[in-house]
Assembly symmetry: C2
DNA sequence: CCATGCAGTTAACAACTGTTCTCCGAGATT
DNA sequence: AATCTCGGAGAACAGTTGTTAACTGCATGG
């Protein structure tokens, strides 16, 4: 594969990406259901009708944005699981590394984070369920990771998934909190996030105590 | 006070409420930043210009909706704290009662729940911070409740607030999940919510273990 | 080298938006 | 009874929206 796809399709994907970028930027101050097709094409410097060469409508573009955003997040998640998955380091180190990775991600992909947080419960059905599906998939991966750890011996399948979901949800929530935090306040948010992870970790360790 | 406010102001508040109700209903399928002034007045059956007699713009109406929605939620929260606050019942009963109250609230105020979940991270700044402030206030109340319980002996102030925030966030998240759950699936969501609360409760009990 | 495919353009459309100004009529005030 | 107040109606405005149709020019594959 990959025979340096012709100058033709290259240009197409270039403007397509320009549309996605422009939309993502415009979405910092509004939500998808109020973002107009013309608004996006105007920002790119292209005729309104050119939009239809790439997307059926704005909802379609929204779904494409979900894929782009959650793909980059997925990369981060894999890195996170790989870095903290050896089971050697005890809880505290693992927690610190996790939060630090989230902080770094938010710093490098703020617009993506805002988009996911906003449209997760937003007004466009197709986008909402696209995000929901992807996050459920993330939870599955986290669960699989957990399943291989000694701490999870004797755990129910459903309980493991529930735990994984809590971690994923907490990850998204923390990222969103970091975004809205006043400049300079990010460290406070990070401290809070570590404390919350510590609580979850404690709950996990004592889950099977009284059984 | 309250001398049966004249038939004049009565009519005014009546149409004002009609505007709020219509907006809340229209918001089930879109988000606030895309909801138009004319759309709302049309649904009520009133001239577009009448809108300005009650709200400066849609953002202003949004803030009013926040107050209405979170006021009803606050009532539920107080009931929740009162019902589970005697400290007598052990964790499991308390958890079941909490989840059941959330389920009941979602069933009776679905539109309010959807609105809060959607606009919490939505595109209208004023509404976002209005919701944030109210939820922070809820967390304070929960914290005060926790502070009076024996389980919280020796707890740091910040840690208590962090715990309270986790409970409030979990409450909102559970309510939102119940909304999006396929009909008949609510019971599954409720079971998951109970498990999550159990985990939080376990974390809480062992918070001071290794200090 | 030429015919075809196709990303992007131009022009036009009916529909809709927020906002202003002017007016009306009925409740409130004296 | 006369006057004032003010919630709401009506008409008009400049701007914007999504979508259509027919076009242009260039990379592409035979």
């Amino acid at each position: 594969m990959s025979h340096t796809l012709g100058i033709r399709q290259a240009q197409k994907q270039k403007t397509r990406q320009a549309l996605l970028d422009a939309a993502l930027q415009l979405l910092e101050e509004q939500s998808l259901s109020s973002l107009g097709l013309r608004e996006v094409t105007r920002a790119v410097g292209v005729a309104p009708t050119a939009f239809y060469r790439h997307f059926r409508d704005m909802a379609d573009l929204g779904v494409a944005l979900v894929e782009e955003a959650l793909d980059s997040l997925h990369t981060t998640l894999v890195a996170l699981l790989a870095a903290t998955g050896d089971g050697k380091d005890d809880g505290e180190e693992r927690i610190a590394a996790t939060v630090e990775l989230i902080v770094a991600y938010v710093r490098t992909h703020p617009a993506h984070v805002r988009f996911i947080a906003r449209e997760q419960h937003g007004g466009v059905q197709a986008v909402r369920s696209a995000i929901g599906d992807q996050l459920a998939l993330f939870a599955q991966e986290v669960k699989d990771q957990f399943a291989g750890e000694p701490d999870s011996a004797g755990w129910d399948e459903d309980d493991l998934l529930m735990l994984a979901r809590m971690y994923v949800d907490h990850m998204v929530m923390t990222a969103s909190s970091l975004l809205e935090a006043a400049p300079g306040t990010e460290q406070r948010v990070a401290v809070g996030a570590r404390r919350q992870l510590r609580l979850l970790s404690l709950g996990r360790h004592h889950w099977l105590d009284e059984r």
